[in-house]
């Protein structure tokens, strides 16, 4: 019992620190990647003892700046709710990661450890429940700020997030139907082996439309361009208009943590999760009969690494999309959400059902 408790704590510390480190690195990656994409150099001025480390110290500089800034609560604002909103933004984003498997079960010091924070069979529902809570953060943050613009921004953001949650939920129903489970670990396990003899048996082969819908809807959920109407930093700064210091920083971090969670979800559902292509329990089975023996003890760690490599790749992809596409106008946003994504998601569900029936 004590052993399991210790394992749970160690798992939590490892996973949360990896998640937060990755989210912090994303603030650096966002600056540097956008700069490289736009033929610029990017933030490189923060230095310790003249050593610049390609701008990595900007993460520390940002943290110091946000923590030492004045924590301003506007007059006549609801102080309690105003302070509560940033926590409601970042907490669900971090907690949602608990349902995502980072690797298969391993045996450590005689204990069987599942590489996932919360062993639960309702992974999807949990993630979407947590994603819905972030709407409260936005609405409460905008409402409690005692500012008309923040309020308007919050209403706009809530409208966006609710319309895209529908498409997000329906997009993954196809995957749930294919694998017959809500358990993300089971789904990742089912994606082992090969498809047609040479392709990794990944979910994208069965659900290409679901992947497109999920990645579109989840960019809207992360509130980043081209769906950054909740923030719209260049013009309006929606619902966190009246936030400063670390409270703003928490909204800011929540965006990046959500990006990592979305990257984890996409790679788990459609890109095999922790599965390494061609890697079985005993070694690499490459096409054309090639075989490479791998020690059995190494396999789970290769899978753990593969999961994070996939997550980093999808973080990169999400950042690239964010720095490529201009923002949707509000009516275009609603048109895309309700008239395109929702019918496509329903079509995806129907087509998957027909395919399963035909295959049975």
């Amino acid at each position: 019992m004590t052993g399991e408790f210790v394992i749970a704590i160690v798992k939590t510390i490892v996973a949360v620190s990896t998640l937060m480190t990755l989210a912090a690195l994303l603030t650096w990656a966002e600056r540097k990647q956008s700069a490289v994409m736009q033929d610029r150099i990017g933030a490189n001025r923060a230095a310790i003892l003249g050593f610049r480390a390609i701008g990595l110290f900007h993460i520390i500089a940002d943290a110091i700046k946000m923590m030492t800034k004045e924590d301003f609560v506007p007059p006549f604002a609801n102080r309690f709710i105003h302070s509560l909103a940033p926590f409601l933004a970042i907490f669900p984003a971090i907690v949602a990661f608990a349902a995502i498997p980072m690797g298969d079960t391993v045996t450590l010091f005689g204990h069987t450890v599942e590489m996932r924070l919360a062993p639960m069979n309702i992974g999807f529902l949990f993630i979407f429940a947590m994603a819905s809570v972030t709407v409260y953060a936005i609405v409460l943050g905008g409402w409690s700020s005692n500012n008309r613009f923040a309020m308007l921004g919050a209403m706009r953001a809530a409208g966006q997030m609710i319309s895209y949650e529908l498409a997000l939920g329906l997009a993954v129903v196809g995957s749930v139907m294919v694998y017959g489970t809500l358990d993300l670990m089971e789904i990742a396990r089912a994606q082992t082996g090969l498809f047609a003899g040479f392709l990794p048996n990944w979910g994208i082969i069965y659900q290409p439309l679901g992947f497109l819908l999920l990645i579109t809807a989840s960019i809207a959920e992360t509130k980043r361009a081209p769906f950054d109407i909740p923030e719209a930093e260049s013009e309006i700064i929606g619902c966190f208009l009246e936030y400063s210091g670390m409270k703003f920083g928490m909204f800011f971090m929540a965006e990046f943590v959500t990006t990592v969670v979305v990257a984890g979800l996409v790679s788990t559902l459609y890109f095999g999760g922790y599965q390494v292509p061609y890697l079985m329990a005993d070694g690499f089975h490459l096409p054309f009969g090639l075989f490479l023996v791998t020690p059995a003890a190494l396999v789970p760690w290769l899978q753990f690494g593969a999961f994070w490599i996939k997550v980093v790749f999808f973080c990169w992809l999400l950042l690239t999309i964010r720095w490529t596409l201009p923002r949707f106008r509000y009516d275009q946003l609603m048109h895309l959400g309700w008239k395109i994504l929702l019918p496509l998601a329903l079509f995806n569900v129907a087509a998957t059902g027909a395919w399963i029936l035909a295959a049975a």
Partner: protein
């Protein structure tokens, strides 16, 4: 007549256009990133990976006719060339120049500036003072543009400070001034 671009079906479904945009940005990303890595390894130094000029580390690349900070030119004997005719002060649209003349015994010039102040917080760097000057006493060819001060008072530059400015490297005067042509009457007076 301006006709609105009607989107084709492929453009309206977004996805091909999104992929086209992504291909442009990803191309830039991979090209610049590999160049940055090559530069770190000491290769391909002649191909720039970014258009950025790292300005405080590298001097800014200015055009030869860039209008920067003013300077007061000197005569051959080192004294200020300005004859306090107040042409520049009159030409200045911002009332940034303030000259207090004083009489001198030299019959060639009769006057010189007792004080010559330019308030850079008012100056719009239009260059009218340079064009107005009959004796080529004021120029804006220093190439200095990064003048930042802690106080408004610090932005008022006096005669000695303006005389201390040098012509910037690679800067040219437009139109090129031939000193022999300058103030012929004044020179005749000095000869007699």
């Amino acid at each position: 007549m301006l006709t609105q671009h009607r989107q084709t079906w492929l453009e309206r479904i977004y996805l091909p256009e999104v992929l086209r945009g992504l291909s442009v940005t990803v191309h830039h990303f991979t090209r610049n990133l590999s160049l940055h890595i090559a530069h770190a390894a000491g290769l391909k130094k002649n191909v720039p990976a970014a258009v950025t000029i790292p300005y405080p580390d590298v001097p800014a690349d200015l055009m030869p006719r860039f209008r920067g900070m003013h300077r007061l030119t000197r005569k051959a004997n080192g004294t200020v060339a300005c004859t306090a005719c107040l042409c520049c002060e009159t030409a200045c649209p911002c009332h940034a120049i303030d000259i207090v003349p004083e009489a001198v015994d030299d019959r060639a010039i009769e006057k010189r500036p007792k004080s010559f102040e330019i308030d850079l917080s008012k100056c719009s760097f239009c260059g009218f003072c340079v064009e107005a000057c009959p004796v080529d006493a004021i120029r804006m060819d220093t190439g200095i543009f990064d003048v930042a001060m802690d106080s408004r008072a610090g932005l008022v530059w006096g005669r000695e400070a303006l005389m201390g400015n040098e012509q910037g490297e690679g800067m040219e005067v437009y139109p090129p001034i031939d000193r022999e042509d300058l103030a012929p009457r004044a020179r005749e007076v000095s000869r007699s």
